[in-house]
């Protein structure tokens, strides 16, 4: 038989004998229940904040550190908050000043993004004259979860999306394209510098992409301005082109080297994957025996071209 001594107060001591079959002390069910009964009865009153003042004065050193109401240390709060939806986090900025700083901190946003598994669908409705509307849908319902009127006059296009941020462009009239980043979770947009067309009538927005460069930890937008080609006269043929890249935080668009040869883009919006934006294009040979080459262009966001060629006959 073994005895467990449980010391609560200096003037209160209780011993319990365990009727254990095993000769060494082990956590038998009966022993556990007995202990829990005594612990619970005392802790229950502590948790219910009853005044046990006279007894409290006689507490042993270990028990004076016992909180009657738990107060979590601040470094555990992000672990909990990063699991809440953004809409609620916007409200919880009101809780107190330190929570407001935490929720507004970009490091917290990254942590929240890493844990996020919500995917939404967004659609542009350019025909709700005179408005342009952005509609958002969750993947398991056809009812829109949000509808926002865009502050746009011209036709609005998607340039790309990444981490819940949409990149939109509109014809700004004249030789400008206006570009905006739209954060769908907090419903706020950011104006980017406009893109100037090289020659007004001839160029239009062809391929584009928006992504996050993991190496420099910056978002970048890339657009390929295409010249209308009179010979082929198809909207998606490119030979002459200008490629422009904007790095978030700068105030301009940089021109980078052109796509090396002419082709037809199969897909306008680039697919962002692992720090690279990829477009599917095809090059149609002018020879009689047409060889269809499917080229996957990878344009690294650090402005280098590299490509993978897949021959399809």
């Amino acid at each position: 038989m073994k005895r467990i001594q449980i010391q609560f107060f200096d003037d209160f001591e209780e011993t319990i004998s365990t009727n254990s079959q095993a000769s060494r002390f082990s956590l038998t069910v009966t022993g556990l229940i007995n202990m829990l009964k005594i612990l619970c009865s005392i802790l229950f009153s502590a948790i219910n904040k009853k005044n046990i003042s006279t007894n409290r004065q006689n507490l042993t050193g270990t028990l004076t550190s016992l909180p009657s109401l738990p107060t979590l240390p601040f470094d555990l709060i992000p672990e909990i908050l990063s699991r809440l939806p953004v809409k609620q986090l916007l409200q919880l900025r009101c809780v107190c000043k330190s929570w407001k700083s935490l929720i507004s901190d970009p490091k917290f946003a990254k942590k929240h993004l890493a844990l996020s598994s919500t995917y939404n669908l967004h659609g542009l409705d350019n025909h709700c004259f005179p408005k342009r509307v952005l509609k958002s849908y969750s993947l398991n319902s056809s009812v829109s979860i949000a509808q926002i009127d865009l502050p746009s006059k011209g036709y609005v296009l998607f340039l790309g999306s990444c981490n819940g941020i949409l990149c939109l462009a509109e014809e700004g009239g004249g030789d400008l394209f206006l570009v905006r980043l739209w954060n769908t979770s907090i419903r706020k947009f950011k104006e980017l510098p406009p893109i100037r067309k090289p020659i007004v009538e001839r160029y239009h927005l062809g391929m584009s992409g928006f992504g996050h460069d993991p190496i420099s930890d910056i978002y970048k937008v890339v657009v390929v301005l295409l010249a209308f080609d009179n010979i082929h006269n198809t909207g998606n043929y490119f030979s002459e082109n200008e490629v422009k890249v904007h790095t978030l935080g700068t105030d301009s668009w940089k021109s980078v080297s052109m796509f090396p040869f002419a082709g037809v883009f199969v897909q306008k919006l680039g697919q962002y994957a692992s720090g690279k934006i990829n477009w599917l294009v095809s090059q149609i040979s002018c020879k009689v025996n047409v060889l269809l080459l499917l080229l996957i262009w990878g344009m690294s966001l650090i402005k280098r071209f590299c490509y993978l060629m897949i021959l399809v006959r």
Binding site: R24, L32, C40, P67, L76, I80, L84, C94, C96, K100
Partner: protein, 154 residues
Amino acid sequence: MAEEKSQASSSKMLTLKASDGVLFEVELNIAKEMKTVQAYIDDCEDIETIPIPNVLGKHLAIVIEYIKKTNEEYDAEFEKQWNMDDLQLLLLAANYLNISGLQECLCKAIAKRIENKSPEYVRKVFNIENDHSPEEEAKLRKEYKWAFEGVDKD
């Protein structure tokens, strides 16, 4: 006699002493899941009784049982038994003992219970005092007015 026999068996036993003096005898591999205890063992190899001054016997018992039984099914049912205060005390224990699996399970559980609740409710849960001035709070609410719609009643 039986004591010596069992100690000679393959798994070594360790005694953990909770803040209220309750003793728990656990197998070494269970104790090692608590990184704080592991560090203690690394420092003093011959130790047999390890003091856990920040955790009550009641909570240490729950923690030990979690380590023994944890799997997807158990975790899903685990959090349902405890009230919010207990969840937080268990999180404090898991944090002190440095058990990452239990910490994650408890953080998820606490987040689930406060999801879609108002700032007032959340303040009560975590015992936080609002140090915003009324003007500051009004400004914060106005900035994202749409976010304050559709909240669960407290």
